[in-house]
């Protein structure tokens, strides 16, 4: 009977697989489905986007790599230290003024902050408490200009400008909780001419500076982000030792659309 060797081999077992065949029903269904797919393929012409996708497929890898590089660059730019920082306190325009110091930034003077009250501003005087300036770890130097801004009365009191040395951290209280905010903004150009002078009666609510990590870096509007006063304070203290900043040149405190800003450039 048997011409096959008594001991089956793996080839014999695999040959049994050849005998596994589907039924006629399977083939009927198979042919019907194939016919339907074939008709659909005949009717459906490839769109221009399909053709484009097929043609671009060969460039997918280089395009992807280029996109990854660009994204990495953008992320790096976004996450690097803010190149130029201005702290802004929004407030009604009528309550704001600006001060420009023409004094060059010296080795001991980082910024000057003036806090004044409008002499004939009853609304401001009544609704806004006189801001106080809190100085931390200050090597505070008495201002030489106090005599120029001596208050004549309680209503038009002028808080004299104070000169701070490097390492000084300044903290300003909010005018009120709803309007106080600090915003980081890039410096594109000075908003006031360098010879802009401040009248003694111009109201100034408050302004303070946050110093930059790298004043020579290219600024970008995308760096603008809300900061709370704690973060601004951290930024100030972190960058106060940056000598490049002090060598950077002039600074301007400006009034611009209801905001007081102090800028270095």
């Amino acid at each position: 009977m048997s011409q096959l060797p008594q001991k089956p081999t793996i080839e014999d077992l695999l040959r049994l697989k050849r005998a596994e065949r589907p039924t006629e029903d399977f083939w009927t269904r198979f042919d019907a489905e194939l016919r339907a797919k074939q008709l659909a393929a005949l009717v459906q012409k490839p769109t221009w986007s399909d053709v484009l996708r097929v043609r671009l497929a060969r460039f997918a890898l280089p395009i992807g790599m280029a996109a990854a590089c660009i994204m990495s660059g953008v992320v790096w730019l976004q996450t690097r230290p803010v190149p130029s920082v201005v702290a802004v306190v929004p407030a009604p325009a009528a309550q704001l003024a600006a001060i420009v110091t023409d004094t060059p930034v010296s080795s001991i003077s980082v910024a000057q902050i003036a806090v004044m009250l409008e002499p004939d501003g009853p609304a401001l005087a009544s609704s806004v408490p006189a801001p106080s300036v809190v100085v931390h770890e200050a090597a505070q130097v008495a201002s030489q200009t106090t005599s120029e801004a001596t208050p004549s009365s309680t209503s038009d009191a002028i808080v004299p400008p104070i000169t701070f040395t490097a390492g000084t951290v300044v903290e300003l209280p909010p005018v009120n909780e709803s309007t106080f905010a600090a915003v980081v903004m890039p410096i594109a150009a000075p908003t006031f001419p360098a010879d802009f002078t401040l009248s003694a009666t111009t109201p100034l609510l408050a302004a303070y500076t946050a110093l930059v990590a790298d004043p020579f870096a290219v600024p970008s509007p995308s760096f603008a982000q809300p900061l709370n006063d704690v973060r601004v304070g951290e930024r100030v203290s972190r960058n106060l030792d940056n000598e490049r900043l002090y060598a950077a040149g002039r600074r301007v405190v400006a009034l611009d659309e209801g905001r007081v800003s102090v800028k270095f450039w």
Partner: protein, 210 residues
């Protein structure tokens, strides 16, 4: 010679039959390329059983095999204008089918659905089953079912590459050269994969080889 018989008969790459088959295929392909769309049905009729059989062994279930075979025929139909005739139509079609199935298997590695087909026995198959049944001392039908399950399991334990090669070589009866052309690797690699796959299967099916 029917397609079913072609499944059983081991194929030889350069045999006159195969050459005549390839010539006939090419003539049909030229007709399709000239716009005779209905001529493609002849090609489907010639190869559907072999393609579905191959893909069934690769996937382990008939439904996936049918879907993948249909897709392969559609792809072949859509790109038949690019068929130059350098390789045989059969090799070209197999390459489309195998590549599509490999992609499918890679995307569905965790799928473990298998189907068992009824064996359509011929003389050789019947004799072998009888011999195996005697050796195991088991009921024929029960034994056959168990054997099919074990064979499927053992094949599915192979890697996709090894399963493809052993299926093309041992079950479909292609030569090493044809397999190398279809799979896109060297003949030496095909031999190596066949050898390794057999070793693995022998280990898995040792119970039936005593």
């Amino acid at each position: 010679m029917s397609a079913a018989n072609a499944l059983v008969k081991p194929l030889v790459a350069a045999s006159p039959d195969r050459r005549a088959e390839a010539d006939a295929d090419l003539a049909i392909v030229r007709r399709v390329q000239a716009g005779d769309v209905a001529a493609f049905d002849e090609l489907i009729g010639r190869y559907r059983e072999r393609v579905v059989g191959l893909l069934y062994q690769m996937t382990g279930n008939r439904e996936d095999a049918a879907d993948l075979a249909q897709d392969a025929f559609i792809k072949a139909f859509q790109s038949i204008r690019s068929f130059s005739g350098q390789a045989s139509f059969f090799t070209w079609l197999y390459r489309i089918a195998v590549n599509g199935t490999l992609t499918h298997l890679r995307h569905n590695r965790n799928r473990t659905f298998f189907s068992l087909e009824k064996m359509q026995e011929d003389g050789t198959t019947t004799e072998m089953i009888a011999r195996l049944t005697d050796a195991q001392g088991a009921d024929r039908e029960t034994f056959l079912r168990e054997l099919q399950e074990k064979l499927n399991e053992a094949l599915q334990k192979l890697s996709i590459k090894h399963r493809t090669v052993i299926t093309l070589f041992e079950i479909d009866g292609l030569s090493h050269e044809e397999i190398a052309s279809i799979v896109g690797c060297s003949v030496g690699t095909v031999r190596s994969r066949v050898h390794y796959a057999k070793q693995q299967l022998q280990a898995e099916l040792a119970h039936y080889l005593r």
